[in-house]
C-alpha cells in the first residue's frame, strides 16, 4: 500500500498527521516516520531557505519504482508506505519530505524506510535552490541521471 505525492507548499503543507492517518492499522507492530527539514547551514554558508523544484510525473514514477524495488528486495508482507515531498519555497525548519512506513516488526520498518530515502537522494528528479543571508542564491550541484 503506497501513497506518493508532490505537494505544492504555496497551497498546502506536508503534514505528519496525514501520514499517520494513512499508515495506522492494528495489523502493524512498528511505524517509522522520517521527516527531512531545512537546516540553517550548508557548506559553511548560512541558509535562510530552500526552493525545491520537481518534475512531478517523474518524481511519482520514481517513488513508485523505489517502493516496488524495496518490496522485491526485502520481501516483507503487509507494508504501508507514505511518501510526500514538497515543491516551492521552504523556510528553515520546514519539512521537505515525509516518509512513513508501517509493518509488522521494527527491523523491517527501519530497513524499508532507510532504503527509500537513500534511493530518493540518488535518483529522484528534485532540485534545490539554496538561499543565503548575504550571498546570491544558488542551485545545488547534483548527480546526472543515467540513461539506459
Amino acid at each position: 500500500m503506497l501513497h506518493a505525492e508532490v505537494v505544492d507548499v504555496s497551497k498546502e503543507k506536508i503534514d505528519i498527521a496525514k501520514a499517520q492517518k494513512f499508515i495506522i492499522s492494528s495489523k502493524y507492530g512498528a511505524s517509522i516516520y522520517f521527516v527531512g527539514t531545512v537546516r540553517d547551514q550548508n557548506n559553511n554558508k548560512k541558509v535562510t531557505g530552500i526552493t525545491y523544484d520537481t518534475h512531478d510525473a517523474l518524481v511519482i514514477k520514481s517513488f513508485e519504482e523505489i517502493h516496488k524495488e524495496a518490496e522485491t528486495k526485502f520481501k516483507f508482507e503487509n507494508i504501508a508506505v507514505f511518501i510526500e515531498h514538497v515543491k516551492g519555497y521552504a523556510a528553515l525548519g520546514d519539512a521537505s519530505i515525509i516518509i512513513a512506513v508501517a509493518c509488522k516488526h521494527r527491523t523491517q520498518a527501519y530497513e524499508f524506510s532507510r532504503y527509500i530515502i537513500e534511493e530518493i537522494k540518488k535518483r529522484t528528479p528534485i532540485w534545490k535552490k539554496e538561499h543565503y543571508t548575504d550571498e546570491e542564491s544558488v542551485w545545488l550541484k547534483g548527480n546526472p541521471i543515467k540513461t539506459s
Binding site: 523544484d53 520537481t54 517523474l58 540518488k122 528528479p125 528534485i126 547534483g142 548527480n143
Partner: protein, 89 residues
C-alpha cells in the same frame, strides 16, 4: 517542427519563462536538441561555460515521462523536459 523544452532545476536560469521553444528539422534526435540548446547558450549567454556544462550533463524526458537517450528520435511536435543533475530532495 516546434519543440517546447520544459526547464527544471538550474536550467530555469535560461529563461524567465519555464520553457524554451526550438524549431528542429524532421527526424531530429535528442542529440540535435542538445546542440540547439548549446547554440542558444552561445547566442544568449555568451557561451557561459557553466550553462554549457549543465546542458552537457543533463538528460531529457519525453512527453510520456520516460528518460530518453541521445539517440531518441523526435518525430513530432512535442514537449521535452531537460533534466539537469538531480539534488534528490
Amino acid at each position: 517542427m516546434k519543440i517546447k523544452l520544459e526547464l527544471f532545476g538550474a536550467s530555469r536560469d535560461f529563461s524567465e519563462k519555464d520553457y524554451l521553444e526550438f524549431n528542429l528539422k524532421e527526424k531530429s534526435s535528442i542529440k540535435d536538441l542538445r546542440q540547439e540548446i548549446l547554440n542558444f547558450v552561445d547566442n544568449n549567454f555568451k557561451g557561459n561555460e557553466n550553462y554549457k556544462k549543465l546542458v552537457l550533463s543533463s538528460t531529457f524526458c519525453s512527453e510520456k515521462n520516460n528518460i530518453v537517450s541521445d539517440n531518441y528520435e523526435i518525430t513530432k511536435q512535442q514537449k521535452i523536459g531537460i533534466i539537469p543533475p538531480i539534488g534528490g530532495g
